[in-house]
């Protein structure tokens, strides 16, 4: 960690003092700002640009107990070739035991393999299990690890425990990028979202991510806005840029474009790339492809013209 914040995590007291010293978030104001940005009207050439950008930012995800190697292979193939001349997506996101399938399929394409780990989605296990879960995914070829924080410890005020866990998982990641899932739907307040964002960044996360997708509400606009403000302020304070990934509930092109508007008007160009902003989603891709085709042909094709993977 860079000097200005080096000692922040030396004890729970210092960490608490720092996190609670961050400016508060006024819920009404944050909701209003997000709603206002949600009214931006993105049309024609801007829409085309936004759709391709959104496709390139998708972390195409399947996280079901019923996932099969076949399903992961199909999804990974689509990640590389979404259809027509659409750009490839950013990554595929799967459970650790299916990482090798995904890795083989996307090999050499530039599409990354992300894996959830650390007793996803609840995070209710020992640190040892979480670390070995992470190591398993990395060994199988994951480029990115999506970990969950211990919400219980966070809400109980045991910030050091959360901090140390993220550090340990980060160490287990090796070269893999670490995305820290805050599960904002369980954090209850926007103040907590801001504090958890800073905690994850201080502990060495490369990305902060809203949700597992298993808890509602997930990636709302205001929560994403607050996390974007956090990465902006963190870079101002430390010079280190951290990525943001809203995930869960982003289903339509409209939802995705609202997210891009949020990025554009909160943190700007520097974050408008798959290196710094991702959209965790499963059904979103087909809607983006459908809208993309509508823009080029002027007509909507039926759902049978888009593959279900």
């Amino acid at each position: 960690m860079t000097t200005p914040l080096a000692d922040v995590a030396s004890s729970n007291a210092t960490l608490r003092a720092f996190l609670h010293g961050l400016p508060g978030v006024d819920r009404v104001g944050a909701d209003q700002r997000a709603a206002m940005l949600g009214t931006r009207s993105i049309k024609t050439s801007a829409k085309a640009q936004a759709i391709d950008l959104a496709i390139s930012m998708v972390d195409l995800t399947t996280l079901e107990g019923a996932d099969t190697p076949g399903k992961v292979r199909a999804m990974s193939t689509k990640a590389v070739h979404p259809g027509g001349d659409a750009p490839r997506v950013a990554a595929v996101c799967v459970y650790p035991d299916l990482v090798h399938v995904a890795a083989e399929t996307v090999k050499g394409s530039g599409v990354k393999v992300a894996s959830v780990a650390t007793a996803f989605p609840s995070g209710r296990s020992s640190l040892e299990v979480k670390v070995s879960d992470t190591a398993l995914a990395v060994a199988a070829g994951a480029d990115e690890i999506d970990m969950v924080i211990d919400r219980g410890a966070f809400l109980a005020g045991d910030y050091v425990k959360v901090f140390e866990e993220i550090r340990a998982v980060k160490a287990a990641c090796g070269d893999a990028h670490l995305k820290v899932i805050l599960e904002t739907g369980e954090l209850a307040t926007y103040d907590n979202v801001r504090r958890a964002s800073w905690l994850a960044m201080l502990a060495g996360g490369d990305f902060i991510k809203t949700s597992t997708g298993k808890v509602q509400p997930a990636a709302t606009l205001p929560v994403t806005l607050i996390m974007l403000e956090a990465v902006r302020d963190f870079r101002d304070a430390t010079g280190v840029q951290i990525g943001v990934k809203p995930a869960g509930g982003i289903r339509t092109t409209k939802d995705a474009i609202k997210m891009l508007v949020l990025v554009n008007e909160t943190v700007g160009d520097d974050w408008l790339s798959p290196d710094w902003f991702r959209l965790g989603a499963s059904t979103l891709l087909n809607d983006l492809l459908m809208q993309r085709q509508k823009l080029t042909t002027g007509r909507y094709a039926g759902p049978d013209y888009f593959t279900l993977d």
């Binding site: 400016p23 700002r33 009214t39």
Partner: protein, 474 residues
Amino acid sequence: MFEYAPAPESRDVVDIKPSYGLFIDGEFVDGSGQAFKTINPASEESLAEVAAASEADVDRAVQAARKAFGGWSALPGAERAKYLFRIARIIQERARELAVLESLDNGKPIRESRDVDLPLVAAHFFYYAGWADKLNHAGFGSNPRPLGVAGQVIPWNFPLLMLAWKIAPALACGNTVVLKPAETTPLTALAFAEICVQAELPPGVVNIVTGAGETGAALVAHPDVNKVAFTGSTEVGKLIARSVAGTAKRVTLELGGKAANIVFEDAPIDQAVEGIVNGIFFNQGHVCCAGSRLLVQESVYDEVLASLKRRVSTLRVGDPLDKNTDIGAINSAEQLAKIRELSEIGESEGAERWSPACDLPERGFWFPPTLFTGVAQSHRIARDEIFGPVLSVLTFRTPAEAVEKANNTPYGLSAGVWTEKGSRILWMADRLRAGVVWANTFNRFDPTSPFGGFKESGYGREGGRLGLEAYLDV
């Protein structure tokens, strides 16, 4: 990198006639004054020719209102309510058309006319419709009577909203009205006249007389007007107060302001910055309660100012009909000249001027969002109402100093307080001499909340239960 393509709202929804007459006794009639043109301030194109009401025309309108008063005031409140509810519903049905018309004539961004003005206009009529049959229980005695004919003069900054603030409570209480819209923004008031016809409002209950200052002066001075309601500049407000002095006319005045928006070190900074932007750049700063003086606590000054400049740099200035525009056109050449003059005075008096890089259209009246730092209390930009997108930034150290600076103005319309500490909000609100004190928000309006000024910001309240008092003989 991510540039928004133009997203203009369609003009097809409005049907502007080449010329408009006066609306008197339920009909459009010719005016006998010199007709004038109303223009689109964003392009300077002429939109329509509008009749000017002479003294004789005003007299006809007042007579029509007088004639209608007997029947209208005798209607049971529930019957008057039906008309008001009907008007409110028609406004909602025609909201898109009215929003486009408002943006064309006024220059304000469609996002604001669509999302702020029109919803509030309808809400005002709905709200006062609800009071019409409950006046006996409003706290003004058992059977409060209306005043009679109300002469109402409104400004150009929120043409239809100010009309709603004036007409809705007046009609609910049983008065009839003659309303004069501003010279530069008559079109939505004339569209409202059509709505009165559509709602089958009895003739003469609402009369609209267009014209300039002389028309307004004739209306205010008319001996058969029982009540004068004015929203506009303090200068004109004083003239009106003089002209009605010594008569039995009731007066309410809603005048200028120079509101302090006070940001404490423990404020929710990101939302405070939004509130500062909304406080001064909403409606191009053409807002009497605009937060035109920013008072920032010293300890967070650098942080707030950096954040504010970054945010102001993202404001989108341009075509009012583009759905992504944040700041539209200045309403008139005259107003633009005034904003320019005061800004130049600000610079020459030593304050530091800053605006983000922004391309302004060539035609029309435009002024970039502007901040002045290093402003002292004695600077004219900290004292005079600029009524444009120009913010004066001052600092303070203690809460007492914030109160002293905030109150050190002849105005007293509104104030804003930003802090996460509830007790400080109450402490400040107790001490601020302003009609409205917003806490952790700014420029929020609601028909249930009374609005009005202290000192040279005027007297009387509009909105809420208190707003009824201005139209009842109590």
